[in-house]
Amino acid sequence: MKKLLTVLFAMTLIMALAAGVATAQEKSTLEIVQERGTLIAGVKDSVVPFGFVDEAARDLVGFDVDICRYIADELGVDLELKPVTSSNRIPMLTDGQVDILAATMTHKMERDEVIDFSITYFMDGQKLLTAVGSGITSYEDLAGKKVGSVKGSTSEKNILDVQPDCEVVSFEGYPESFLALKQGKVVAMTTDSVILVGLKGSDPEPENWEIVGEAFSIEPYGLGLPENDSEWRDFVNFTLIKMWNSGDWLEIYNTWLGPDTNYYMPLTWDMEIWP
């Protein structure tokens, strides 16, 4: 017992003598990325059409991925993609494992207290996905029924705010929730309407599903950025505005959500532009 304590003391003294001074250097993420030569972006890997694995090309593609690629090209660095989920995206950013988050993340005030957001790069609303002929036309019909949602998203709280009588079943990811809807275990599924469009479009029989109801919450998507990093945030915002002004944003939008794709969503919104 005494020996153990003596050993502990000795170790402490040795470490005290050998310790250097730990300096915390405040470097902007912009410099870190440029030095590293790679932009590490956190994207979703199972949300069509924002971040998903293309079966033919076998890599991560999507709207969010293209936005990150544009920012990486602006910087002149390579792009490395890291898959994230709704629950672990913010911890991955605050830990420093990713430099930027493009993961269908709604810009919410409580999230803004922990991380920073870019300007809105996509505007969406929350709706319901049900089977055709189920009789659900809006959230009022959900009283006493079961609704599927995903853990860590804004959808589960919003549906409880507008319809406290429903039973919300929260799954780990959107595909699991959609599978439960297909098997009839839940009568509707709720999340951002563009994700619903993606799920419906990637189903083998899209005509069996319909997206109903008007948007009962607004979901402005923002890119997640590390807190208090003004240089990096300015750079990302200027790049987004440049993307909009040059028409590249619209091009990327039409690639994934345009009239020629399975996931057509008409564009009804303008990005905020600074002169």
Partner: protein, 290 residues
């Protein structure tokens, strides 16, 4: 003077021995406190100059999530669900385990083979895989009229979770009960058979009552495992303790507070069960002789 010191020393040791349930924990607390001072305060704060920037905020539990429900109530709902699912699953698992153990010991080959196959299948696959199979894959095999009625009921996720946990733990319990039964001397079975009882009657009236006294500690160990494994059913949407604390830190970002409370609650449940084992061992098993 030295004699008095010796006397005092002996008295102190005797005191510590008598009240060891209090004195030994105090020793541990003192050592942990000393380590805390050494490692954290001296080494990390003073020598390496690292400050941990995190404001502990346990009042987050009193915040409202939706209409009139605080996070604390959400957490307590989760605790109650965990207790319910563990309790019912362990009862069903013990029933399944007993039946399988008897199958394994009978001389009818089909029952033996069936029990062996069941045990190997359910012990060698991960519990999460089994939970997903029960929830999603069972839809393929169930008849249409049953699913039409069943899916309208509330909380079918609870039922599926219970089924998965019970069948998984039942396989482990079967092996332990079989080991317990085989530890009863063979003469008991021979004596009861020659006394005129059938195999089943011998099991029910002679062997199993004796075996259960031996087998209860491993059984309680399995229920401890089941309580901790019940956190996996959150993957299919059951609102139990782990899922509730995930909601709390997903929405408020207070990860440390939420997880520390969840850890303490799981530890408390497990320690209560362990305390039951220790008391059982002390008071009942000292009479087991062969």
């Amino acid at each position: 003077m030295n004699e008095k010191l010796q006397d005092l020393k002996i008295k102190a040791l005797q005191f510590a021995e008598r009240y060891k349930y209090i004195v030994y924990p105090l020793y541990y607390i003192a050592i942990i406190f000393l380590l805390y001072i050494l490692i954290y305060q001296v080494l990390i704060l003073r020598v390496f100059n690292v400050e941990i920037q995190y404001d502990l905020d346990y009042s987050v539990f009193l915040r409202e999530r939706t209409e009139g429900i605080t996070y604390l109530e959400l957490l307590l709902t989760g605790v109650w669900t965990t207790i319910k699912i563990s309790f019912f699953s362990i009862i069903i698992a013990m029933a399944i385990g007993t039946v399988l153990a008897v199958f394994r010991l009978s001389r009818v080959v089909i029952l033996d083979v069936f029990a062996k196959a069941y045990i190997e299948l359910f012990r060698n696959t991960p519990l999460l895989v089994q939970i997903f199979l029960w929830y999603y894959a069972s839809d393929v095999f169930l008849p249409g009229f049953f699913t039409d009625w069943f899916y309208q009921q509330t909380n079918i996720e609870f039922a599926y979770g219970m089924a998965a946990l019970a069948t998984y733990t039942g396989a482990f319990i079967a092996e332990e009960i079989r080991a317990g039964i085989q530890s009863i001397p063979k003469q008991q079975m021979e004596a009861s058979r020659s006394g005129g009882l059938t195999f089943i009657q011998a099991m029910r009236y002679v062997i199993l009552p004796q075996a259960f006294r031996i087998v209860i500690p491993p059984l309680i160990n399995q229920s401890l495992n089941l309580t901790k494994n019940s956190s996996l059913v959150m993957a299919i949407g059951v609102l139990e303790l782990m899922a509730s604390s995930r909601f709390i830190f997903d929405e408020t970002f207070r990860v440390f507070e939420a997880l520390s409370v969840a850890t303490l609650i799981y530890m408390a449940m497990s320690l209560l069960i362990s305390l039951a084992i220790n008391m059982y061992n002390k008071y009942f098993l000292r009479y087991i002789t062969y």
